[in-house]
Symmetry: C2
Subunit: 450 residues, 2 copies
């Protein structure tokens, strides 16, 4: 049975915490899965949280801590003494501890580390802090199983049993030579069914070992793990020495975050704001995009005002303003979305910009022709064939332009190391609006003026 957190349960729990009914808490909260305990603690205040949290055994504390919502975790940890904070970090996997520490100011990091008792754990964390968080080094943990080539299975079992204390989840055992260089991988399954006198060297898989370098980007790690169906991947340094491992769950988090980020960019929300955040924070996170859109609207107004005479003469020109801007925006977003997606998938063919551009131009040409013939009929019927011609010609030009611009813009952003997803949001739409208006009225002037 999966636990379902209800308001009623929370209320009862709060009362039990207030009356310090420890036996009740033990029976009704501590028996739950740690992810459920974390969900409960997310809803408690710091004092209530502390009481529950410190009833739990140390290993489960670490699990709970990493499951808490980031805001709650930061708040909770900030309420601890430096010594308590250091103790909590020692319980964590090295990658998690480094992630939490990495967000703190430098002095605080030093202070916390100086309070850690386990020197080896402290060293691991300090080492991990050196890596950029978007690289394999930043994703990896220092806890993994490793076996030496020349161990027999029974020795391997003894050594691994020692390592098992630190390694929570085991997927594969990494096999190293005497210089701790990665030479292969041994699955737990093979080890389990092996004869105790067999040597690791005779069991392990040395062909096609997939590893990543500490400096590989998180995106690359994610692509490699997906391509090769890996649940864990060994991380090596430049000398091919084994320094860590990355597990799929960390990468899944990364994939989800990236997808969220792209989605947010495309929909004009700058920040991953919790839906329970204050009105003011939500407001602020959306304003930048709206201001960009408004600035675009103002420039658009300026463009149209330059053609005021056209509107006075032919008011029907105004009718199709929304159509022109909407079409430019939509076509632009479609083209840039495709480019952003291929970039995110690590598509390397993109270096060759020209064929991509050509294809989008062709698609724009085709859709432009189709839609502009359609609108010619409609606008002619609406007003007269002269306006039909203006709208139709403009629409065609706008679609073609938007397709090309929508393709180029994210590619250019990417080239200058700006997140290309930025292109899909209000940015491209707004620019297309302004340029579309200019095209529309210029063509109008040309045709009506003639």
């Amino acid at each position: 049975m999966r636990f379902e957190l209800t308001k009623e349960f929370l209320e009862v729990l709060r009362q039990k915490i207030a009356s310090e009914d420890i036996p009740w808490i033990r029976e009704n909260v501590l028996e739950l899965h740690y992810a459920d305990v974390a969900e409960i603690i997310d809803k408690l205040n710091n004092d209530e949280a502390k009481l529950v949290y410190f009833l739990v055994d140390e290993d489960t504390q670490a699990d709970i801590l990493m499951e808490l919502e980031e805001e709650v975790r930061d708040r909770f940890l900030a309420s601890l003494s430096t010594k308590e904070f250091a103790d909590q970090l020692e319980n964590l996997d090295s990658d998690d501890a480094a992630d939490i520490l990495g967000d703190l100011p430098n002095e605080k990091i030093q202070e916390v580390i100086s309070h850690m008792e386990d020197d080896e754990a402290a060293e691991d964390i300090v080492d991990l802090l050196n890596y950029d968080e978007d690289t394999a080094g930043g994703l990896m943990q220092k806890e993994f199983f490793q076996a030496h080539l020349d161990w027999p299975v029974n020795r391997a079992l003894i050594e691994l049993r020692k390592q098992a204390e630190d390694v929570e989840k085991v997927y594969n055992i990494f096999v190293v030579d005497e210089d701790t260089r990665l030479v292969g991988v041994l699955s737990l399954k093979r080890l389990l069914f092996a004869n105790t006198s067999t040597k690791v060297a005779d069991l392990f898989q040395s062909k096609n070992i997939i590893s990543v370098k500490t400096s590989d980007s998180a995106e690359e790690v994610s692509n490699v793990m997906e391509k090769y169906d890996l649940v864990s991947v060994p991380v090596v340094d430049y000398q091919n020495k084994l320094v860590g491992r990355i597990t799929l769950d960390d990468v899944v988090d990364y994939i989800k975050e990236e997808a969220d980020k792209d989605f947010q960019m495309a929909t004009g929300i700058t920040d991953n704001v919790d839906s329970n955040a204050s009105i003011l924070r939500i407001s602020r996170s959306r304003l930048p995009w709206l201001i960009i859109a408004m600035a675009g609207g103002i420039v658009g107004a300026k463009v149209i005002s330059n053609f005021e005479d056209s509107i006075t003469e032919i008011p029907a020109m105004a009718f199709f303003i929304p159509l022109i801007t909407a079409m430019g925006g939509n076509v632009g977003v479609q083209s840039s979305a495709i480019v952003v997606q291929s970039l995110a998938r690590g598509d390397k063919d993109l270096g060759r910009i020209l064929p991509k551009l050509l294809r989008e131009a062709k698609v724009g040409l085709l859709n432009g022709l189709l839609l502009s013939s359609l609108i010619f009929g409609i606008a002619s019927f609406f007003e007269n064939s002269e306006l039909g011609l203006v709208v139709s010609l403009s629409l065609f030009t706008v679609i073609l332009f938007a397709a090309i611009f929508g393709t180029l813009f994210p590619l250019i952003l990417n080239k200058y190391k700006v997140d290309p997803a930025l292109a899909i949001g209000p940015f491209v739409t707004t620019l297309n609006d302004v340029i579309g208006l200019f095209i529309y009225f210029s063509i109008g002037l040309l045709i009506y003026g003639a």
Copy 2:
């Protein structure tokens, strides 16, 4: 070293295939990781692919087959005889085989199954075909490790070794009672280090066992695996009998597909069209959204034409048309994106629509007030304070309306089991455009008319 597929390599390979240089192919292709071999086969034609594919051993064939691009795989399998097809299916994990078969017409399914020699495998596949592909039953595979409660470790090892033939990847061993009801989970790690005379009953974990039901939705499975950090989850039927398992890699594929789908919806691309597809196919996949946007533009033109007199009298009204439509669209997309995201995360609080709506309304109110005061100044300076008032009042109303509508629309879609992500695309923008125009000109008429 990871393999990098180059044009030059492909050319050489093609020549070697043409001259049937089997030793060269063995040495240079078959030695590669199966994912790389799949990448190579993706680029070959059917005849070339067959030659390479059938040089590989059966187990690796299955791995390669599942790594091929779907189009290539379908084409390749269609070129096989029914007998060959059936042989290939027998090599696959049951979930993969069922996925491939499920896409075929019914007669073809029966024909292929009748050609399968392994009755048990055929039965597993037929069973899996009964489940909807978006449910746990549709995601699960029939291959997993299971141990009985009362087995001692040494018996478990012998039994598991037998099961190991079928189960490619082992994460956990599921523990069942005499009625094959799921009672717990045993980690490979614990089994590895256990005394051979210990009983499974003394080793396994029976507390907080997380399982899913065959009828649970894929979304629920994904949320459960994420929440509880699972690499594999047991699937049970209504009597809690163990019937399958789902592994994280299948769910990762699902997560990626869903994220892609939302992104595509938001950016107006209906279909997951390969970026190498023909111009015509790409064109077609984007047209639906463009036609919706164009229809919106035409309705917008109709709305404005109803206010033709206003424009003739005050041409400056036309200047701010793009600003009004752009702002309505952007605000609407922001609000609906937030709702779609919480729905995708399985946020259940959403059942209570009112507080959500209230919050978005407040954010709209705040941003609306801010931006409309700003635009009042700008539009007044641009033309006169009367126009300033019209634009400012309209902008405020449009933002407030778009925020509320953007929140409600995906919630309504979701209620009627339509993918709420549909709301973020051109749909909401287009509707907001039309309604925004109506608001703008109505307010204009009201103020100028007075």
